[in-house]
Amino acid sequence: MSATAKLSVKRGTPEHTYDEEFDIPYSEGMSILDALMWIHAHADSTLAVRYSCINANACKECSVMVNGKVTYACTARLSREGDRVEPLPTKTLVRDLVTDTLPAKETLASVLAGSR
């Protein structure tokens, strides 16, 4: 019963990126976000991914690329054959799977720039 699935994650910062592979304890129907949360809790707490609601597809913050396609990590299913997760290619990389997806007018930098 203790099946595992391989999850390859593109990680790093704009200065240096690298690929890392994780063995995820697999259960039927689990999401890519489930797998990323498992990594964070049990394998590597430094893995960065932006999300707020958990698997509810409500906050729309967990956009990533799964197997080359832009999707939400919380609705994409982990496949037993293995998957690859990368940050959004069209956004500036912050770290690991986190990209610069905060609304431009509501960042600290923009508020500091506009303050008296």
Binding site: T13, V98, L108
Partner: protein, 573 residues
């Protein structure tokens, strides 16, 4: 170091925080609205799927007094009636205001806003947005409203570490920009804490990632009192199996509102009646009653295979399912769930917190200049929240907190005292130095610690507690606070450093977990959401609220009489 000034700083941007920002700005204040996540996207609001209770009285059979009576009954004698009265009285105004902002409340055929029945309510009064879209619709509507309100500046991705207190008064905050680690100080004439919610402390929860108890811990350290911390609410029928993604686990609630459904044990028998509760396929048993019965059935070996109960809609015709929930039926099909063929499994799940920061009717805390709003506030819902009262609480208390904070700010000069911010800045510096010195390779120690806290809170401080389990939890929580947090490895880097964020989150979580466990230990009775295995009866001796404060680094408890008002005694037609 960058610095920002504001008349009113609002921390947390769910419905309560956004309402506070709008109300404060409309009262003339210059507002800074900040959130750890994205404004209007994080927190609990966006997860709300259906019910918002308000006595709109469209058919002449309802009124705020009646809504209040239902709220008090659910609250099991512990509601702060000043607050619950405000909640019920002002909810209809806020619902109509949201309607004017075009939130899209579901309508009846006569064009009026549709109100449905929900457990514990004496008349149908719970409004919603189809399909299962209440929270997202509210969040989107308020996000647009906030962005169009003159005088509100918004910062997403900003984590407030501490409220700064000078001469007993809240004067601002110290915060960190998560994506680049930039530290910023904020001076404000008044501060509104609206980052409530703590259900992430429990393994099974319906929380957002940022609901780890920040509001309570930060307010406690600022000198505020916390009320009724022993009362996290467990939603009885959270989704358990089969695995379901793309939907919030509390989604069966609206299904039961509209379609009833049958709750069955592992033998496919109805069981709530065996505990003296009434349900009969109509969804009338209250949350604490249902949660209790499911746990007891499992203890008796009559649970469903995954450890919960079955919820069945197999008797409901497919056409009716589709009429009630349209696209949701397709989403369920994608998850391999066909309600016409099979029952699903459900089980209790941590869902809401009745307790919180102690405030007066103006939402002012014990700390001058500090206000609270939404789920961060304790008292309005007593020992058990009536379904549908959380979203109106966010609206009503948010609006009031913003309005009264702005009024307070209008009469004051801005004060900033760097020395008062020094301890918070020093801690940020200390943790940063620890992280930068780290680099011992990949590790999951902080993640494992978080996981341990969630497991422990679920097992020892969850639905069923006793002196032994609570004492053991308290001991370990104190050890984590003093030992583990001091030594847990962190990793370097300022770009979205998850280990550093986890450290500050966990610091708050452990402090709040200790509050819950301590308060639960002190309340030697069972009442509402607080169920003690060693004190199973409700004891009139405990018709009191428990207040926690920080004394040095120690949490101290005290008891205060319940706040009663005259109207709660009036006859309701």
């Amino acid at each position: 170091m960058p610095h920002l000034d504001a008349d009113v700083l609002v921390i947390g941007a769910g419905a309560a925080g956004m309402y506070a920002a709008i109300a404060a700005a409309n009262a003339g204040a210059d507002v800074l609205l900040v959130d750890k996540s994205i404004v209007g996207r994080g927190g609990a609001t966006i997860m709300a799927q259906m019910t918002v209770a308000a006595a709109l009285n469209q058919d002449g059979d309802d009124g705020w007094l009646k809504h209040h009576r239902d709220t008090l009954k659910a609250g099991r004698g512990l509601c702060n009636e000043e607050l619950s009265e405000i909640l019920c009285k002002e909810a209809p105004d806020r619902i109509r205001e949201l309607d004017a902002w075009k939130v899209g409340w579901a309508r009846r055929e006569d064009g009026k806003i549709n109100g449905v029945m929900a457990p514990g309510h004496s008349v149908p009064r719970c409004v919603y947005v189809d399909f299962l879209n209440t929270g997202p619709a509210v969040a989107r509507t308020m996000r647009v409203k906030v962005s169009r309100t003159k005088g509100v500046r918004r910062v997403s991705g900003l984590s407030v570490r501490e409220i700064v207190v000078h001469e007993g008064r809240a004067i601002g905050a110290v915060a960190v920009n998560v994506d680049d680690g930039q530290v910023v100080t904020i001076a404000a004439k008044a501060v509104v804490m609206a980052a409530g919610g703590l259900t992430k402390l429990f393994r099974r929860n319906s929380a957002s990632a940022n609901m780890g108890g920040d509001a309570y811990a930060i307010a406690l350290r600022a000198g505020a009192s916390l009320l009724d911390m022993e009362f996290p609410q467990f939603f009885p029928i959270g989704h358990l199996a089969p695995r379901l993604v793309g939907m919030d686990p509390i989604m069966w609630d609206p299904f039961r509102y509209k379609l009833g459904g049958r709750l069955l044990n592992g033998n496919m028998d109805e069981f709530l009646e065996n505990y003296g509760f009434s349900d009969g396929g109509k969804y009338t048993a209250t949350r604490d009653e249902t949660a209790y019965a499911i746990v007891r059935e499992n203890e008796a070996g009559r649970g469903s295979p995954a450890g919960g109960a079955y919820l069945s809609f197999t008797h409901v015709p497919e056409a009716e399912l589709r009429r009630a929930f349209g696209p949701v039926i397709d989403l369920l099909a994608e998850n391999g769930i066909d309600l016409t063929q099979n029952a699903v499994e459900v089980a209790p799940i941590a869902h809401y917190h009745m307790g919180g920061i102690r405030v007066d009717g103006e939402m002012a805390t014990d700390v001058p200049g500090l206000y609270a709003a939404g789920e961060a506030v304790g008292g309005a819902n007593g020992a058990n929240r009536l379904s549908g009262n959380a979203i109106p609480e966010a609206f009503v208390f948010g609006e009031r907190a913003g309005r009264f904070a702005a009024a307070m700010a209008a009469g004051r000069a801005l004060v900033w005292e760097e020395a008062a911010a020094a301890p918070a800045l020093a801690l940020i510096g200390e943790i940063d130095a620890r992280a930068e010195a780290g680099g011992t390779g990949p590790t999951a120690t902080i993640g494992e610690l978080w996981f341990e806290v969630q497991e422990m809170m679920w097992e020892k401080v969850g639905l069923m507690r006793d002196e032994a389990s609570l004492t053991a939890a308290l001991e370990r929580l104190r050890e984590i606070r003093t030992n583990d947090l001091a030594t847990v490895p962190l990793s370097p880097g300022h770009a979205h450093n998850t280990t550093v964020e986890d450290w500050f989150d966990l610091r708050n979580a452990v402090e709040v977990a200790e509050c819950i466990a301590l308060a639960a230990l002190n309340r030697r009775e069972s009442r509402g959401a607080h169920q003690r295995l060693d004190y199973t009866a409700t004891d009139p001796e405990f018709d009191r609220n428990q207040v926690l404060r920080l004394s040095g680094t120690e949490i101290v408890a005290d008891w205060v009489p319940v706040v009663h008002t005259d109207t709660s005694l009036e006859e309701v037609a």
